[in-house]
Symmetry: C2
Amino acid sequence: MSDLAGRNGNRNRRATLKDVALASGLSQSTTSRALSGEGYVAEAARQRVLAAAEQLGYVPHAMARSLRKQVSRSVGVLVSDLRNPFYADLAAGIGAQARARGYTMMLVADQGLEEEQLSAAQAFVGTRAAGVIVTPLSAAVPQYLLSQQIPVVEVDRHFLPQACDSVTIDNETVARRITEHLLSLGHRSIGLLIDETAWTTGEARMAGYTHALEDAGLEVDRGLIIAAGSDVTAARAAVVDMLARRVRPTAMFAANNLLAEGLWRAAHALGLRIPEDLSIVSFDDAEWMSMVEPGITAIAQDAVALGEAAMDQLLDRIADPDAPPAGIVLEARIVPRGSTAAPGGSH
Amino acid sequence: MSDLAGRNGNRNRRATLKDVALASGLSQSTTSRALSGEGYVAEAARQRVLAAAEQLGYVPHAMARSLRKQVSRSVGVLVSDLRNPFYADLAAGIGAQARARGYTMMLVADQGLEEEQLSAAQAFVGTRAAGVIVTPLSAAVPQYLLSQQIPVVEVDRHFLPQACDSVTIDNETVARRITEHLLSLGHRSIGLLIDETAWTTGEARMAGYTHALEDAGLEVDRGLIIAAGSDVTAARAAVVDMLARRVRPTAMFAANNLLAEGLWRAAHALGLRIPEDLSIVSFDDAEWMSMVEPGITAIAQDAVALGEAAMDQLLDRIADPDAPPAGIVLEARIVPRGSTAAPGGSH
DNA sequence: CGTCGATCTGGGATCGTTGCCACAGGCTTG
DNA sequence: CAAGCCTGTGGCAACGATCCCAGATCGACG
């Protein structure tokens, strides 16, 4: 359709509004009005401006515009780790929705470091982001951003339920359900592999697990709960330690996809048969879980939908800064696969 | 350390340079000098300014600064699909390097749509990005950006070798190597599953495949080459079609990770044993390939390193816009696993 | 003692936009 | 025909930073 190069290949300075005005023989005011479509401008003049803009390959300077209008069309996004498919999907959902609504996404992965997260938040303040979506590590970042008048949506985890919008899933209920699933198969000794219990996610997942056990009249054995760093090799090592003991659980619940991978690799390394020797369930579904034999029973949360919802909520908040904070809770479902069976190898 | 909230929780306007100047009783000029550390400013004055800035929670307005200095500290990144681990890792590498060098990353996933890609490029021009890293779909986007004086690095694929920096791997050589690997095992009928042959990647991968066959004195059978859309279900369907034929190849080469997944699922659906009934190799390594039984022999390219190199190259280019365009070629290695064996089930 | 340089400070133009305001015609209306 | 309205246009002051330049103060040096 339009020649994107703007027949401008040999010019060395980027075209500015002034250039367009000069080329069309009109004032900057009129030119601006013609291009933005706001305010009176004669049809003939409008055409001349449009033609000149096209001919010069003019693209309005978004920063100058933001500065003048005091509104920005870009949002900051702060996730833990793009290499984890959960966060990548989350970012994909946010980015798609942002583009659809005419926003630019500035993305930072903080590697789970509080320090990085804070400095990224400062960078967002620096660019005067219209809002920020964050998977927070503590209350610090949301608090800081709110103190700077920047709308914030907490996603996946939330630390400021009374002050901040959030999009999460009902971690406790779904963790309880999947634990009940194991209990109903006859398991009485169920291990939990978890990375942290301080964020709302870990806390809720553990609560779901313990409540399910308690409701079944079982005592929670702290020795069956392993806290591992949230990376595959650390998880694997921690699990090998535990499973190598004489008396071991008949089922294990991994609280996220990385831990599940560590768990799975540990079980393999120890030569344990799944599900005969050990049943396995995972919070978070991942590609490989439907490909290994047997497949892993998992909790599937739609991270893309989570991201889309977060972006929608952020834009609502930008549109109405004084509305009361809302917490959106999305559904997650259990995908039963072959990794769970009755204990004792009764296949 | 420093109170990030800046004891400013109750103020409603964001602090500006003028506010800091007022608070410290100095002019904006001096305040600016004190904060940026450029030019003369008395030590006592500097301290007063810093204290006032801290106290107000002042964060410099990056856009105003960019506008005035006519340089931007943010880069645009344009990839195909964040849900594909290859692109997610690429973005992770770029983002990490960008942050380390003090740049902000604006990220867009174009879903492989040319149209989306062009409009994203225009958005980058609008924000006056300091540079752009792109996995291009055609020459159009790099060309457009260059015509707008914006430094561009093409990554993974490259369409403007003579005008544009690029970071790639040697697709042809490594594709040839892995085909030779299959030939050396005794395979004489090797299928190729590929998504496109127009981009440089597909073209080179196919060239590697055909050259390996030709060098072995084999004729290239067009019937063994399937072009499928680059998504799992389409690839699966295309493969099922082919493998269901009476005479089928003894080995298959999938040209990327999505195609490999489709291939793998198709083989499973048809009840084919790997590698006895069919050997499988993949361009791109993925998590699941080391977890399924047997593991998939794959070409591992370090997407994170690719991204880091691209960012480094972009910054070099920004620093020296007139240097001749360079093409960086990174190594990729073959990871042998259990999915490849001699044909005919001689395990 | 006058001049020079070094140190320190503030005024004001500027980056590319937008939007308020004034103004100039032409038209309708009482 | 004066008063009012609608249309179309341009001038100019912002937005928040930087940075050039002029001026001021002070010590040193010829």
